[in-house]
Symmetry: none
Subunit: 408 residues, 2 copies
């Protein structure tokens, strides 16, 4: 709640967009808190913050907990922030109870997860995993033409540490679900087994711009009429490959987009998702077939351009097992779940054993000022995180009563 | 061709949208030409331009010729402009031949005919006829939130003259057909007997804004999915009430309009037309039924707002007769035709005897950068306009050889 005062919006949300002055204030507050918790803080060349609590075994790589502090322009209080501050809570709990872990524990806050200002999203964890170069990241521009590199420097968060090549025993990201499943299933915690695959398309329908009045229907080349044939077939993909298949059409842009003119062309944004790559490939082929079959029959030319493909990710079995074990030991109602959204954990999982923990958010709302989460679920999620981390950071597993007694 | 240089687009069309800087330049050029033709120019409070050539009989109301100078965003060189500049050509011909008419002749250029920027279309002639108040017109906003009143003032065309209460002996609007019929029938001129009826709607589909990833399909309230059910039913109206029925969907606006978000709401622009009012009423009822049946079944609220209704119009018998007479006298191939599009002449016809003259346009294309018309048809149409005007402006009718000799 303290962090959410920085960038608070009139409707109770948060606007703390990456590398703005508000983002700097949020980072400063986190760094202050981390130092107060006796962590050693480092900043890398992408502005990612690493706050480390030492372990007793100098030969053991740290266990990472983390997420991000940046928000959408009209974002909420929990997306990202939860995973960073839960790390801090976890370390403060260990401090208060004078527990020393074998492996160090490190809180990480990634730069520009949201991608709301600089595209692509999750760029800092993407540089960390080697998917993007540092130069590429620095050259990304916002709508005003300022580069990510300039803005990192401006807010004083272009650090000295090289990005990547930083081994971890395990990594965990606690996050709100951003969907309605845990709430509907009445579970307090989701054991995330992976992230579904995503394919993005621009469908271009090119007809003939015509005045709405004089042209008889049979003379028209109306892309909206073609869309009316296509839409049911595109949504049908979700039924055919369901219930895990998702079909989203975020917008239909008509040119010229005037009430009394048959549009000359339409651009339709299509987003297909599936946790299983074979099914996602079938959806892709099926979509191509649907478009191919309609093309040419109507005088309207159809072109399907795939613009992004992110294959499904499976998280580390040992991270999943330790999370599940923690929830069982704490008797917290939990279920396995697949993440629908992308997260820094996707890139991190390429270079370290990785898991995620979800908690429910009210009405499944996220990227929204009304985003909310229950205190009870936050406590449960953070406790599961704590126990999962302790299992990985220590050779053995603490008994339930050890932590619970000490934490009370 | 000179006028079409103002706002010329790379594809040879024109972008001279109402009350933009380009519109101002177009108006300035027309006013300059009208003054050079010794017309007295007045501007009314709606920015409509009146350029009057005096007559010999001070007791006789003028004959109006006119149309509009504004264009669609990707419009053509002829839509509107033809009717204004033909008026200028007509007056210059009378000047060159030293002909004085009994009634004055007045060229009128109406503000915001297209409605591409400020809805509704034909707003200035609508205020002129008393269908809209001046305050209503001033308060219309464009997508950027600027009002018509502010923009009129900004370009310096908010005149002093009160709108309306301006008697005319007769009025004529020469316009391209904006449809394929005259070209298909190989006629150079269309004697317009009336205008088909038009009904405009905003269909609002209100669902729930949701992240594209995490929400299973069955939890979604997706307005695009509802649209996929509705579109085929809306287009079916054209088959049911065809072949004169027309259904156009100019745009689908999604909010927030982001690729990875199920839109919270959609606004769908629907345009229904029919020359027969009873059929148009049936289409209206049928559309209401289609929307009512879908509402509530999907978690998406559907609201159909009718925002404009223009009943079918029958033009003045004496204007139709004088136009037909002119075409016959000049031996120009002509036919009767019903206008598919709305025109300022529709509002004007409520307060003055009104007629329209069409000429063919290439491939029936209009509201399109490729809009084109043959020089031969432009000359024929303007000559029919001239002779129709002369019949109404003078007590008698000039003989064919009088004008032809003088004009050569």
């Amino acid at each position: 709640m303290e962090m959410s005062k920085i960038g608070r919006t009139p409707n109770g949300g948060v606007c703390r967009v990456a590398l703005t002055d508000k983002d700097k204030l949020g980072r400063d507050l986190f760094v202050k808190w981390a130092r107060e918790a006796r962590c050693n803080v480092e900043i890398d060349k992408m502005g990612t913050i690493y706050a480390r609590r030492s372990g007793s075994n100098t030969g053991k790589s740290p266990v990472m907990v983390g997420s991000h502090l940046d928000s959408q322009p009209t974002g909420g209080k929990f997306d990202g922030v939860l995973g960073v501050l839960a790390g801090l809570e976890l370390i403060e709990t260990l401090n208060d109870n004078e527990i020393t872990t074998e492996a160090p524990i490190e809180i990480v806050s990634w730069t520009n997860e949201e991608g709301a200002r600089f595209s692509p999203a999750m760029i800092a964890s993407g540089v960390f995993s080697g998917d993007f170069t540092l130069d590429y990241a620095y050259s990304r521009k916002d709508k005003a033409g300022r580069t990510l590199g300039e803005e990192l420097e401006r807010i004083g968060y272009k650090g000295m540490l090289e990005v990547g090549n930083r081994p971890y025993t395990a990594t965990f990201e606690l996050h709100i679900e951003q969907g309605p499943i845990l709430e509907a299933e009445n579970k307090s915690v989701g054991i995330v087994t992976g992230v579904q695959g995503i394919r993005w398309y621009d469908l271009l329908l090119k007809g003939k711009e015509t005045h709405a009045g004089p042209s008889p229907m049979q003379y028209r080349k109306d892309p909206v009429k073609v869309l009316s044939d296509l839409l049911p077939k595109i949504y049908k993909l979700a039924d055919t490959y369901g219930p895990d298949a998702k079909v989203t059409i975020g917008y239909v842009d008509a040119v010229p987009g005037v009430r009394n003119t048959v549009p000359g062309s339409l651009t339709v944004a299509i987003d297909l998702r599936h946790p299983d790559d074979a099914s996602l490939s079938m959806m892709h082929k099926n979509l191509e077939d649907v478009i191919r079959k309609i093309d040419g029959k109507t005088g309207v030319a159809s072109t399907l351009n795939e613009i992004w493909y992110s294959p499904p990710v499976n998280f580390s079995q040992k991270c999943i097992a330790s999370t599940k074990n923690a929830a069982e030991k704490l008797e917290i109602p939990a279920m396995e779940i697949v993440s629908g959204a992308g997260h820094d954990a996707v890139y991190v999982s390429k270079v370290a054993p990785t898991g995620m923990i979800f908690i429910p958010c009210k009405d499944g709302l996220s990227h929204n000022e009304l985003e909310s989460a229950k205190k009870e679920d936050i406590i449960n999620g953070t406790n599961v995180l704590l126990h999962a981390v302790l299992q990985m950071a220590n050779s053995g597993v603490l008994k339930k009563q050890d932590i619970f007694k000490r934490a009370e």
